[in-house]
Symmetry: C2
Subunit: 460 residues, 2 copies
């Protein structure tokens, strides 16, 4: 048992010291995509190990072909204590274009934007500031209580921004050391600066690429126009017929496994401050695509999509060429939700395309890959206790948002370790992650640390 | 009056000498697209001027920014004689890939393919061999008769294979010296080696390029998939809806000005030896696109088309990128027939595309260009007399074929000089024009010269 009030007061009192700690980590240029920064990635891993060791977490550095993973396997002495897994990443995106930064991306600056104090540096929000909120909370509780109320596995990787090549090798190697009751990840955002959020679902992803082959070579459109099957015409027809007039995907059985979101969740979304016109205006749009009769939240958080990410065929340089090309290509991805089965959907996409081809026209598929959607049971103990802790700190209960994107590590935890993940984060839409002048609000940071302390305190 | 029988006999007797003449011209590397060969183009022009001058045609060399044009303005003394214009081009295509040639492309070789004697060299068929058939016929008649039975303007250009930049300047400069009753061009083909042909129509061409702009920047398909208008989806829908299920173009009023071909012409096409499956097999196809219920001849010679020549948008490099792109682009061309008005069609295409856009999605058009279709009155004196002359030489009357492509100079003669063109040529499908081992059959050449002599004799 420890005194959470004292822990929270200490965290508040030590704000400057903890900001210095973040600034220190932000100075390390751990850009994972650029080989020249490999040493800095190693240095960041070393920094994190030293920090964890400073309060007795006995971290190790796991090395493989890529950047190292920092791992800690802490055992509490408390009987029947839960086991927690925490995941974060210390690597950051490249800083280009550096000319658009108002200060050196790796020389953190304390500033104030719209009267909100913040720290500006690459990685401030994504994910150094965020992962430290959890680690610092641990330190205060360990210092106060002598030990943590749970056993804990910590995984801090250095390749999240460049494809996480090492992580699957690590997960395989350490599989029997990783089992836990629940995972926490601090790499998501709040709804707005006053409204905290827990991400309750992530869409899955299915990617495919295909090539339509018409004539066996490029043809002159004068000689053969009107007779030769133009593969661009065929591919545009195939892709266009994927959607009906209501914006629904027409691929047979595409919606198998898609569930309607339960009413409580829908109601919590209805309470969110949200201006559709402003939202669309931010991306230069006046209207919204997708299924008729669905809200923006439903469309991006709970409905699957079929998206064309790239198309190319024929003559694409300057001017005109009267060619009927031999080939046309498209790259597509589907976002998946609920229990949609990527393999069945892929099979149905293949069938649909093949059945759309005129006699003698060919298709070649290439590059399919997929991960399933994830949806968590927000009624579970872990979600409910986190929700309470968050409400205590922020004065409002968190909204259970959906995540439109996919976080492969979270799917790996589910698939490999059969473990749910509570996605709590304190980033804001205007944190400019991946962009110049990335920042993290001081309130996100300090209240973030306090929030995690409250979440951890629930395990007492 | 001259003795056509003697002329024909002389031409036959002098075959070897005339083949040497062609071989001599073929040695000149007049590749117009490659600046290094500019001197050789000039040399070819000089060769032709010298040849024309050798039988009193007083040619001049017209120089402007590009390769020179050889021009002759011959006046006959015969009262009320017709005036004829002849057009040809002395420039040739590049020879790449040179490794696929069995001999030096500019060192003509006499050979035999399928028991047909031929001459192999770049330009043998396109268009040095063809233009010489006319010029040599002139020489024999002038030598025999002392003068030609008509006044004659000869235009031999050197930029047909590279965009004819100089020709419009020349046509404008020499406009008042160019009026004639009829033009002849020898740059087309026979139906097959036993069936001569006159091209009775050429399709027009309308080209346009457009860009669909959805969101104001590329977006993450996780965050915005299902809400953002994907411009690739919009462009595929627009392009796909251009065709109905019967292969007809749906753009309003697209077929205004398209006439059904008269029954005599259709009947002459029905008599042609033609195997549809073989034809399709040659381009790697098993079925034919275009309008249901129309023959291949109708589709390529007498019906308009809407063709997509290029498309591009989004991510097109290797692998997957989960992007919703801001833009998608397409390049289209229409082949036009009859009295279709390119400007009205362009206006209707613009209207159709604009009306297909969701609210807030933009289109930018760029690069429209067009020339009208041309169709000649094959009942006119010039077509009938040419037809008779051809039948006398070949033993069969020529078929009046359509040309699927467009020959801009022929449209310029029609538009600028209000003059029809009789398109007679002796090339064969297997002459490999623009490709390695281009050839011209000796029979095409010798009988070609004799054919023109017979055509000219009709003016006596």
């Amino acid at each position: 048992m420890f005194n959470i009030a004292k822990v929270l007061a200490d965290i508040e009192a030590d704000s400057d010291q903890n900001i210095d700690l973040l600034a220190d980590l932000l100075k390390i240029k751990s850009i994972s995509t650029i080989p020249d920064y490999a040493d800095e990635c190693y240095q960041a891993a070393g920094w994190l190990k030293a920090f964890l060791d400073s309060f007795g977490m006995d971290a190790i550095i796991y090395e493989s072909e890529g950047h190292p993973i920092v791992f800690s396997n802490y055992q509490t002495s408390r009987p029947e204590a839960k086991t927690i897994l925490f995941y974060g990443h210390y690597d950051v995106q490249p800083v280009d274009p550096v000319s658009l930064w108002d200060s050196d991306p790796f020389d953190p600056v304390l500033s104030s934007i719209d009267n909100e104090p913040c720290i500006i540096a690459r990685g401030a929000s994504d994910d150094k500031g965020q992962l430290l909120t959890f680690l610092i909370a641990l330190k205060y509780i360990k210092d106060e209580a002598g030990e943590l109320p749970f056993s804990l596995k910590i995984i801090l990787e250095g390749e999240e921004e460049c494809g996480s090549k090492t992580l699957p090798i690590f997960l395989e190697d350490y599989k029997d050391k990783l089992s836990a009751d629940i995972a926490y990840v601090c790499d998501t955002g709040m709804w707005d600066k006053d409204t905290p959020a827990i991400t309750r679902s992530l869409r899955g992803l299915l990617s495919e690429e295909f090539k339509i082959i018409g004539p066996d070579r490029d043809l002159h459109s004068g000689e053969f126009g009107g007779v030769a099957w133009n593969p661009i015409r065929i591919i545009t027809k195939i892709l266009s017929d994927v959607y009906d007039d209501e914006g629904k995907v027409t691929i047979p059985n595409f919606y198998d496994g898609v569930n309607e979101v339960n009413e409580n969740i829908i109601n919590s979304w209805k309470k969110l401050t949200f201006n559709e016109a402003e939202y669309l205006n931010k991306i230069g749009q006046k209207s919204s695509s997708g299924e008729t009769g669905r809200s923006i939240f439903e469309k991006t958080w709970s409905r699957p999509t079929f998206e064309i990410n790239g198309i190319f065929g024929g003559y694409t340089d300057e001017g005109t060429k009267t060619v009927i090309p031999s080939e046309a290509n498209a790259k597509i991805t589907c976002r998946l939700v609920g229990n949609q089965d990527p393999e069945k959907i892929l099979e149905n996409i293949h069938k649909y395309i093949k059945s759309s081809l005129p006699d003698g026209v060919q298709v070649i598929f290439d590059g399919a890959d997929h991960c399933r959607a994830i949806e968590f049971d927000t009624d579970s103990y872990y979600f409910q206790s986190a929700s309470e802790a968050i409400e205590e700190e922020w004065g409002v209960s968190p909204v259970f948002t959906g995540g439109g994107g996919s976080i492969p590590v979270v799917e790996a935890f589910k698939t490999l370790l059969n473990m749910d993940t509570v996605l709590i984060g304190f980033a804001l839409d205007d944190d400019r992650i991946h962009s110049p002048n990335e920042k993290y609000n001081i309130s996100s940071y300090v209240k973030g640390i306090k929030t995690w302390a409250r979440v951890i305190a629930k395990y007492q």
